[in-house]
């Protein structure tokens, strides 16, 4: 999924994210401030000594794409955004590479910070994307998986 209108660039793709391209996209003569957020992965070792080597991202692509577009619309309704980029990787992401990148340009800097912060918070909370930690021995652990706990009241 890759949508690039003149002012919004929204992507869900296995391609590495390019911060310079995101900055260039949102740079605009009407903007005085640009805020960029990059989500990266902390190096980790499992309790039994295996190193984390990558994350595998899976998305419900159609829904996640619609959700990202809707988040862009809602951000624009709240802040005077000049341009924005909302980019998320799918598939395997090596440690040290960002999995998500959000860039927002606005006339004044406070709005760029607020919109960027809101977008990453909402993305993490709602968008149909899942990550699986991949360990050095090839095993995988879904992050925030449903913890099996029979009898727990459902959330629907």
């Amino acid at each position: 999924m890759n949508i690039m209108s003149p002012n919004d660039w929204i992507t869900l793709s296995p391609e590495p994210l390019d911060s310079a391209a995101a900055v260039a996209f949102v740079t605009d003569g009407r903007a005085g401030g640009i805020d960029v957020f990059l989500g990266t992965t902390r190096a980790e070792t499992s309790h039994d000594g295996r190193a984390l080597i990558a994350l595998d991202y899976e998305a419900y692509e159609q829904m996640a794409g619609e959700q990202l577009r809707e988040l862009a619309r809602r951000a624009r309704a709240q802040w005077p955004i000049v341009k924005l980029a909302l980019l998320h990787r799918t598939g395997r992401v090596a440690l040290g590479e960002p999995s998500v990148m959000i860039a927002v340009s606005t006339p004044h800097r406070a709005d760029a910070f607020a919109a960027c912060r809101w977008l990453i918070d909402m993305l993490k909370k709602d968008v149909a994307i899942w990550k699986k930690e991949v360990w050095a021995d090839g095993s995988g652990t879904w992050v925030h998986p449903v913890v099996p706990s029979p009898g727990t009241p459902g959330e629907g």
């Binding site: 619609e66 879904w142 629907g156």
Partner: protein, 81 residues
């Protein structure tokens, strides 16, 4: 009526399937689909109380009525970003 079920992440792995069709009585709700799924795929039983549901790519409450041809997605807690 026929509803397409989509499974993701841990649910897809547990069920070993990402997409399937199920037959439901007319006017069945998401809750009824959940029961049918739990019966068809016992491996998901422990997970189903903890998931959200999306019909045609939008989150819905569990009492939502389904329609023929709907795409019902089982959404385990998301972890993007």
């Amino acid at each position: 009526m026929t509803v397409t079920i989509k499974l993701f992440a841990i649910l897809r792995e547990r069920a070993n399937v990402s997409k399937m069709r199920i037959e439901l009585p007319a006017s069945a709700t998401v809750a009824a689909a959940r029961e049918a799924l739990a019966e068809r795929l016992p491996a998901l039983r422990d997970h189903l109380p903890r998931v959200a549901w999306a019909v045609n790519r939008a989150y819905v409450p569990i009492e939502t009525e389904l329609h023929d041809g709907d795409e019902l997605a089982v959404i385990p807690p998301v972890s993007g970003g």
